[in-house]
Symmetry: C2
Subunit: 252 residues, 2 copies
């Protein structure tokens, strides 16, 4: 299975600490990695069909503190679709003049929804197919550009229709919000004032966020399995969809 990492913040924040711990898990999840950083309406999508443990792209990401409001990262252990760049998450499309990024953990069976042509998969994964279908159905459901709340309602209707075909842990962002859906396994953490020192579970690395933050900063981190040992991670319930805006969680 793959692993997911997402971040949503109320101020552009770098993900070097969390990505370092997350990438450590790439020793097991070696079939590629990807990370999408939203900066304002723009997005940078770094993907490599190599493991994040050895990829020069991952090395650059670990050392270049890109400040972003919304991030989605994925390390892949191939289940459907061969190891190739076009099968590497996150996937990206444009809808309503915004970029959207999507990453999936899980496996879908007998999932073959009708696609009308506006969004088609380039690679051979069930994940990109599910993303294209979500984009298509979001576009169909809204005549104009919907609010975050309206999008969340629509996603809450669409997600179970995909999840009926298997495991559908996913993260989706348009640069304004981060949506996270849990089928089996997903955790989140809210970091806000007063900030403390966090210690990675996967690597001997600590950061004192009190030294790096303003009192007004808020950051939500969402991940398959908790990244730190000494913070209060909250497990999603199966079937739960949450939307994170400005570093805050909204149950839906």
């Amino acid at each position: 299975m793959c692993q997911l990492l997402g971040m949503n913040a109320n101020t552009p924040t770098d993900l070097v600490f969390s990505f370092t711990g997350f990438a450590k898990r790439a020793e097991e999840h070696k079939d590629g990695f990807g990370i999408a950083f939203f900066e304002d309406a723009g997005v940078r999508l770094f993907v490599d069909a190599q493991s994040a443990a050895v990829s020069p792209v991952a090395e650059m990401v670990r050392h270049y503190p890109i400040r972003s409001d919304n991030v989605i990262a994925h390390i892949r252990k191939a289940t459907q679709g061969r190891v190739a760049l076009q099968n590497t998450h996150p996937f990206q499309r444009e809808l309503w003049g915004r970029y959207w990024a999507f990453a999936h953990n899980g496996d879908l069976k007998n999932f073959a929804p009708p696609l009308h042509g506006a969004f088609r998969p380039v690679g051979g994964t069930d994940s990109e197919l599910a993303f294209c279908w979500l984009m298509q159905e979001l576009a169909k459901a809204h005549a104009g550009v919907p609010s975050i709340a309206e999008l969340t309602v629509t996603l809450g209707e669409l997600a179970p229709r995909v999840a009926a075909h298997g495991t559908f842990n996913f993260m989706l962002s348009n640069g304004q919000a981060l949506w996270a859906h849990c089928s089996t396994q997903l955790h989140y953490l809210l970091r806000q004032h007063p900030f403390h020192t966090a210690h990675l579970q996967d690597e001997d690395m600590s950061v004192d966020f009190a030294q790096l933050t303003q009192a007004s900063d808020r950051v939500a981190v969402v991940v398959t399995q908790p990244l730190t040992a000494n913070e209060a991670w909250v497990a999603f319930a199966p079937g739960e969809l949450r939307v994170f805006v400005d570093g805050q969680a909204t149950p839906t």
Copy 2:
């Protein structure tokens, strides 16, 4: 004005040599850079709103020999649209289950074509608007997935309609072919057997391609201004569109 660099090859080829010379020009073109590498149907798009002369992303690209069949790179000197990630070329969209990348050099005036919604600009450049319009019109002109020859005919009809609004040097690729259109300035070079040593104009760097290639290799390089001093660069004529497939040029 910005500068463009493209490559089309019959075997995955790294662009480290050409990109090094090209990025040297970023001292003048400092408002961001971007490079799209196609690998099979996948694409990697590296963009940075920093100059290629100082960007850690450009540094990684100069040292990581990514092997690709089709590459489009761009260094930006902002004319329309502020310096921001969403205004950084190349731009990327999906059509017919393939990724498309586009970069533009020039300035368009009074260009406000009707967009029907399938492709909308995220940023504020005339370039991304032109790309969205090209994608829309390509989709409208072909019911099914067209051949490279059919696409070239359609692009040959569309390009002058945009070029009527100003300078429209552009490069476009779907990973199968590289299209290059010249309004004012564009050059290309075909490297094939027998290979020789090439020497960069912008930096003291030479490569003996005879040491690095097979006799069957063919590479086309397209660029705003010639990169090497000792090779036979061919200037495009104003209004000329060429398509490069498997490292060979086809006049249209």
